[in-house]
Symmetry: C2
Subunit: 392 residues, 2 copies
């Protein structure tokens, strides 16, 4: 290579870049400036670009579009992007606080993930990208130079779901020893509606939050299991379900109890008593958490619902019809009942109702009601706070 003519290498590199679906490349070795990136990467732009002043510049190449907007959870609503002479639409935004924000471009009404950003929000339906705006000091959700656990993608055959193979993500902390003397407690952590088993990992940074909390002694060492709470898509694809019942909690409660817990307790070095099992979940996963957790205090002593998708006063019904265990049982059994919902969350009313009901019934609980809405920025906050309370 050292003897090859520069021009040959330039052509070679260009060919490879073209094959990688890029626009053009004129040199294989140079500064990775936005201009160079623009040549190397397909949509011809760098996006997002986190600037030293804390702002973020988003760019979207759509020369033929009439209108491009940025939907970004840094703010409410959509904001128009501005087109330059190359057909690249740009907008620079500064978030109030550094955080990890989902965003999407809306090109003439069609919402898309940022073609230049490798970080995607795992979801069955919408496609958001995520941008990680870091502050001066690293936060609990930023990867730091501490011992790192791992996320494993596991697969099991679910009889509860008619024999389909199902995935899950499992976090094990640094130094976890499958055969050692240390048996770990387990948190079962459930995603929201249309999210997947990857969302708590890729967007929720569950592994990084746990790494940092464990390294600083703020959380107990634990395993975190992230099952896939929506089996319907694959079941229907295989002709094993003919309808999608999103509000029903029986299928996922059975999945956790009959499939996921046994799989974990067979394959991991864990404690298997209810004092060492917790369940938490966001949104629809919060609904499932309440059904599975409050319904089974013999299995879970720690229950945490993040902006749970419950409606009206259905918790009263659930206590009355046996979906949840009797209040008196829960008073005796539960070590933690935690409810967190943001003030701007569209589900706040039901959480306020549940909170009032639990208070009236005398069930000890924590209610966390910060600012913010139905977002993963809040979710990471909820996870951090509850992880500190578990198994203590």
């Amino acid at each position: 290579m050292k003897i090859m003519k520069k021009t040959t290498l330039i052509i070679a590199a260009a060919a490879l870049f073209m094959a990688a679906n890029t626009v053009s490349a004129q040199n294989q070795e140079q500064r990775l400036t936005p201009e160079v990136m623009a040549r190397l990467f397909p949509a011809g732009v760098v996006s997002p670009e986190c600037n030293p002043d804390g702002s973020v510049t988003f760019r979207c190449q759509a020369p033929n579009a009439e209108k491009v907007e940025l939907e970004c959870q840094m703010y409410n609503g959509n904001r128009p992007m501005v087109k330059d002479e190359r057909g690249v639409w740009t907008l620079t935004v500064t978030p109030d606080v550094p955080d990890i924000y989902p965003y999407a471009f809306i090109i003439d009404g069609t919402k898309i993930a940022d073609p230049n950003n490798m970080y995607i929000f795992p979801n069955e339906g919408f496609k958001y990208s995520i941008v990680d705006v870091r502050g001066e000091a690293p936060s609990v959700q930023d990867i730091q130079d501490v011992p790192h656990g791992k996320i494993s993608y596991r697969y099991y055959t679910s009889q509860n779901c008619k024999g389909i193979v199902r995935p899950m993500c499992v976090y094990t902390p640094a130094g976890y020893d499958p055969k050692g003397n240390e048996k770990l407690p387990v948190l079962y952590l459930i995603h929201g509606m249309t999210d997947t088993y990857e969302t708590w990992f890729k967007v929720g940074h569950a592994n990084i939050i746990l790494d940092n909390l464990i390294a600083s002694g703020q959380a107990k060492r634990m395993i975190v299991v992230m099952p896939y709470a929506n089996p319907y898509i694959e079941m229907m694809a295989q002709g094993k379900a003919d309808r999608y019942d999103s509000m029903d909690t029986d299928l996922i409660t059975n999945e956790i109890i009959k499939e996921v817990i046994p799989f974990i307790e067979k394959n991991y070095n864990v404690l298997t008593d209810s004092n060492n099992r917790a369940i938490a979940g966001f949104s629809l996963g919060g609904r499932q958490t309440l059904a599975c957790g409050l319904g089974h205090p013999e299995l879970f002593k720690y229950v945490a619902a993040y902006a749970p998708a419950i409606f009206g006063n259905e918790y009263e019904t659930n206590f009355a019809n046996g979906t949840y265990a009797p209040i008196e049982t829960l008073k005796k059994e539960l070590k933690l009942m935690w409810l967190g919902t943001g003030k701007d969350d569209f589900l706040i009313q039901a959480s306020l109702g549940l909170e009032e009901y639990l208070t009236k019934q005398g069930l000890k609980h924590t209610f966390y009601n910060p600012g913010g809405g139905h977002t993963w920025m809040n979710c990471r906050d909820y996870l951090e706070l509850t992880a500190k309370e578990l198994f203590k």
Copy 2:
């Protein structure tokens, strides 16, 4: 819930669906028909839909677009999609053979991933979606009811890359025991240019291929390590590199030898002699494989290059300047030298040149030259064939 009025639940479900970024939902429990999916999922369409006759229907909602095309690796070039009265663009295509195909929509010149498909091609630049068209009988790349290994996401701090934290994916086979008597051999498997450490997992199905080959006795039990061969993006983001040298192989060779191998041999129950180490890679990863593997026969006895990004006769230069070990050394040391490149691969000429050179020099090798181009359909084929040859 069972007592709540149906209308309340309908409103509740609708609110949740809206929050999940959907268009509308009129019932929480009904058949998951395309019409229902269209209401539940944001872009309002089901895509892709694999039909019983082996065809695939792609749908893209873009009511304001002038032109929408489907780029799909089932065929060459782009094909126009047809707009219906709802503004949904549709095209049905039948692949010649069932396989896993990348595709993208091109809306008025802007290439995007399918907003409705949760399966994304991990890449730094372009955003393709992937569709898995299954045949009558399951193939080696389809998940089957066999014992499943796992993919773990691991993180390490790389001194070779100036202290940044780096990710990798690691496959361990079913029944792997970190402390048991069985020590496993290791395949280091590298992605192509602009791909990431996830691409061999999510697109290459490396874990599924190995699960199936191991279950049927066609491959030895092994660990497969998928490092991230491009550290430049994160290094530049942290101000620790000021240029992107894609053709250089020194940084990644050092990364594998000084960081990745020591990490694996410290953290996994593996065999640590050269008879039990293999290296393989695709495209730019093939270039890196040749440099690292042929350059270090004291470390690797098995070397497999898939459509390697080598240009002109630079292999002669690399043998001459010591980037590769002397041919006579390789003749003595290597147990497998495997080269695979498709007949339609844009890099075929260099592979033909290398093949001729190795023949002339008397270095025993396998040359696999099937149909197909510079694609991941071919990659999975290459991995299947080489995995059967390793450590035997």
